[in-house]
């Protein structure tokens, strides 16, 4: 494990030298644990120098939160460090044991740590305002909970915008039973995004100047580029642009925050620092990939190496071989790869909007590097992202005429009669309605609803993927390795619209921000279905705390995967079933940090009974 923690050493580094620095890094970690006050040494330390701790070991562990200046991509930035580093240490736990973590807040502000995807008593969940009041400056909070699951997860601040400043790390839980995933070496791959700007300044820019960070907009200068990329004529390009203009929408609005301010990090290292992961030919390498970004979706591939996806969100799945996968913010994927030879391979993590990339290298020894792939053209949203088209044509940037033909040809195939709510009855678990028509927009000024219909998009890999001639993972391929416990047909369902006004940067559910909302009440013991309908033109990774969401991925009760975070694509209808087995109050939100901060958040209350009227989230 230690080799994945190393900075890029000089090419000629000897094994002895390597061991020596490993030892000193271990000492540094120890010092950070025991005497973490103040920076040591003359200059700022490098970001990405994190250690590893065992939180179920006797005595537990201590985490120290401190503001420190670190070199991020070679440039000094003020970070919120955990035990001196960003990301924080990889925390290991043993399934079946009790985790004990003392968090010492040495910041000048309140903080918190949320254990993402972990089942625990709600008071240990680490969400200020829901689980507890937060950890005040100078205080220590002790997290203690039994570990009831295994897999790859992560942890992060749930306070304000602290996550943007490096307050996150990976969490790995060793299974109590033999691991069905076979591998020889493993490496932590922690993707994130970093800005040297003050995060609240970033949010202010988003709130006041639409499209502030988008430098890939349609311009007169890139008409030709668009014609060449799409094969459309000048007239067609202009027609399409006019249509978007008429709707007051920007088809290049793929990411709110881009490479214009972000440095994209892999294990705290910028692309040019090339973090290197050791593996020799023939070894089965398990990559535990976490997207700890605040706002960035990554498309991950290792040119020349197929990836066997074995876990999603910490849950074992039936292995799927693929060439590229899109990891949403807050998701985790474990993949196993085998190097066929002693060459280096590039681990390439391109951002969804193509405004940058993070990168690492898989190689048999340090100092090696492989070629970097050509960056791809930035994607543009299509009529399909407004529910104007569906079926096999998705992802093609066809012109308006084709969209309309498609719509007219397909429009009457997927009709489903309005299904009134069946109180108490069991809901179907297979062949769910494929498509819904949008009712009148009722969500007020906080919602710009472009979608005419909402449909299942489980096969759609997402904007900018699927036409490169290689395989891309989709949700429709995810199948639980074994039937998870508690699976039964749901007896209640409701629709939840993901809404936003991208023009004013207001985000919410059903047109309401958290502060305007009521408790989202679940009844303890019920099996509940939430049909999420994305009315916006952005993808939102939706995260439920405390309980699994069983994703309707086109499978059945046995094999639909469990997720803690599900991406809902533009104009998508996505259903999750929840076994409501965790009493207390929990957060439910979009995991794009700035969407969450803008109000795309709910308090879920797991209560005894749903009787009585709505209860506002604030007393």
């Amino acid at each position: 494990m230690a080799d994945n923690l190393r900075p890029r050493p000089p090419a000629a580094m000897t094994r002895r030298h390597f061991l020596a620095t490993t030892g000193s890094a271990a000492l540094a970690t120890y010092l950070a644990l025991t005497r973490p006050v103040g920076a040591t040494g003359p200059g700022p330390a490098l970001a990405g120098e994190f250690g590893e701790l065992d939180a179920t070991a006797p005595g537990g562990i201590d985490l120290y939160l401190e503001r420190r200046t670190l070199l991020v991509g070679g440039r000094p930035g003020s970070a919120i460090t955990i035990n001196g580093s960003i990301p924080g240490p990889v925390i290991r736990m043993q399934e079946g044991a009790e985790a004990l973590i003392r968090v010492h807040n040495r910041l000048s502000e309140s903080t918190s740590i949320h254990w993402h995807g972990i089942l625990l008593p709600f008071t240990m969940d680490g969400v200020p305002g829901i689980s507890f009041p937060g950890i005040p400056a100078g205080d220590t909070f002790t997290y203690r909970f039994p570990v009831r699951q295994n897999g790859t997860y992560w942890y992060h601040s749930h306070t304000g915008l602290q996550e943007q400043l490096g307050h996150y790390g990976q969490l790995i839980i060793e299974p109590a039973l033999p691991d069905p995933v076979e591998y020889d070496v493993e490496h932590s791959i922690i993707l994130s995004d970093w800005t040297f700007e003050e995060p609240h300044r970033v949010l202010w820019k988003l709130k006041t100047m639409e499209g502030y960070y988008n430098f890939q907009r349609p311009t007169l200068a890139n008409i030709d580029e668009q014609m060449q990329a799409t094969g459309m004529s000048f007239g067609e390009v202009m027609g399409k642009r006019l249509a978007w203009n008429r709707m007051r929408m920007d088809p290049t609005d793929i990411a709110d925050i881009t490479g214009a301010t972000y440095t994209f990090l892999l294990n705290g290292k910028a692309a040019h620092e090339n973090p290197t992961f050791l593996a020799s030919a023939g070894q089965r390498v398990r990559l535990r990939i976490v997207n700890a970004s605040t706002m960035t979706f990554y498309d991950i591939r290792i040119p020349g190496l197929p990836m066997m996806v074995v876990q999603a969100d910490g849950q074992n799945i039936k292995p799927v071989e693929t060439d590229e996968l899109r990891i949403a913010v807050a998701e985790t994927y474990d993949v196993v790869v085998t190097l066929p030879d002693d060459r280096a391979y590039t681990l390439f993590a391109e951002t969804m909007d193509r405004s940058g990339y993070a990168r690492g290298t898989l190689a048999p020894c340090l100092g090696m590097a492989a070629a970097l792939p050509e960056p791809r053209q930035r994607p543009m949203l299509t009529m399909a992202d407004m529910g104007m088209m569906h079926g096999g044509m998705e992802g093609m940037d066809s012109n308006g005429q084709d969209d309309m033909h498609q719509e007219m040809a397909m429009g009457h195939q997927d009709q489903t009669k309005a299904r009134p709510h069946q109180a108490g009855g069991e809901l179907p678990t297979e062949n769910l309605p494929h498509r819904l028509q949008h009712g009148p927009a009722e969500h007020g000024p906080a919602s710009i609803t472009m979608a005419r219909t909402a449909s299942r998009r489980l096969d759609y890999p997402g904007a900018g993927l699927g036409s490169d001639g290689w395989r891309v993972l989709t949700y429709s391929q995810l199948r639980a390795l074994e039937r998870p416990p508690g699976r039964r047909p749901p007896t209640r369902q409701f629709d939840l619209h993901l809404t936003g006004n991208m023009h004013k940067y207001i985000w919410g559910f059903d047109g309401k921000k958290w502060s305007e909302s009521d408790l989202l009440r679940f009844q303890y013991g019920e099996r509940l279905r939430i049909n999420m309908i994305n009315d916006t033109m952005m993808s939102h990774p939706i995260h439920l705390h405390g309980m699994w969401m069983d994703l309707y991925a086109g499978g059945n009760l046995h094999d639909n995967p469990r997720k803690h975070t599900v991406t809902v694509q533009p104009a998508e209808l996505l259903s999750v079933d929840i076994t409501v087995d965790a009493p207390g109050q929990w957060a439910f939100h979009c995991h794009l940090l700035y969407h969450m901060e803008a109000g795309m958040f709910r308090t879920v209350a797991v209560v005894r009974s749903l009787e009585g009227g709505p209860i506002h989230v604030r007393s």
Binding site: P128, P440, D518
Partner: protein, 303 residues
Amino acid sequence: MSALNRCWPTISALAVVLIAPLLARAQADMATTADRPSHQESAAQHQGGAPPEMTPPPLPAGMSLAEVLDYAASPAPAHFPAPVPDDRLYAFTFFEQLEYRVATDDTPDHLGWEAQGWIGGDFNKFWWKHEGEAVFEGSDQGETETDLLYSRLITPFWNLQAGAQYANEWQSGDYHDRWSAVAAIQGMAPYMFELDTSLYISEEGDVTLALEAEYDLRITQRVVVQPLVAMGFAAQDIAERHLGTGLTDVNLDLRLRYEIKREFAPYIGIRYQFLVGETENIAEKAGADTEQFLVLGGLRLAF
């Protein structure tokens, strides 16, 4: 004919956008989201009864299952912070024009500015707009208009605003001012036009209307051409302001800016301004200029 062919994709793309709502209506037999339960409706319809027997998971230390379920049925304790501060207030100040205007005739050059800003939340804001011009060579003269408004976001793209305007003008020690009541609609129209329409009723009861429309045409990611049209209307003759009934004056501006940062963009531009109709006649009778061509240079600033 070939021109028509070239236009056809444009026309058909437009047609898609225009026809789509009708098309959606034609599929009325598809299930619609309006018929489906929201979480409140679903909860209200739920005939839950007692929770099933199940082994409770590990609970918070010192709490029973019943206590946790009771706790969960109330909002968070008052001393807890909001989990997300989504009702925070923001402030924005925007000098869209801060420029030196060089007249191509013999009138003096002047400094001109147009700024606005707001303080508030997502829906309700205090919004101010301020514009003016001042001559610094020769006789001291100038004018300003300041609108102080309550602004409410009534649809995703439109603000409805109401408040008061203070306007003044001065020339060589001669000073006039007036207060007016204002109602305005400000926002973004289809095809991305920024529109601001304000209706004024002065303390004398005179009614005027000001309309401003602008559009950002992006040449590159940082070079932007902005055409702007401003028009004034009067509902009656206003002698002391030299205005006649009807359309009174028009400004046609074109600015070319370079966005060093989005909030910091130097620009150059031109303005053609002219009087219209009865207002033009009034000026002519007084021997004043009725049109002017100006060359501008300035800075667009936001903070």
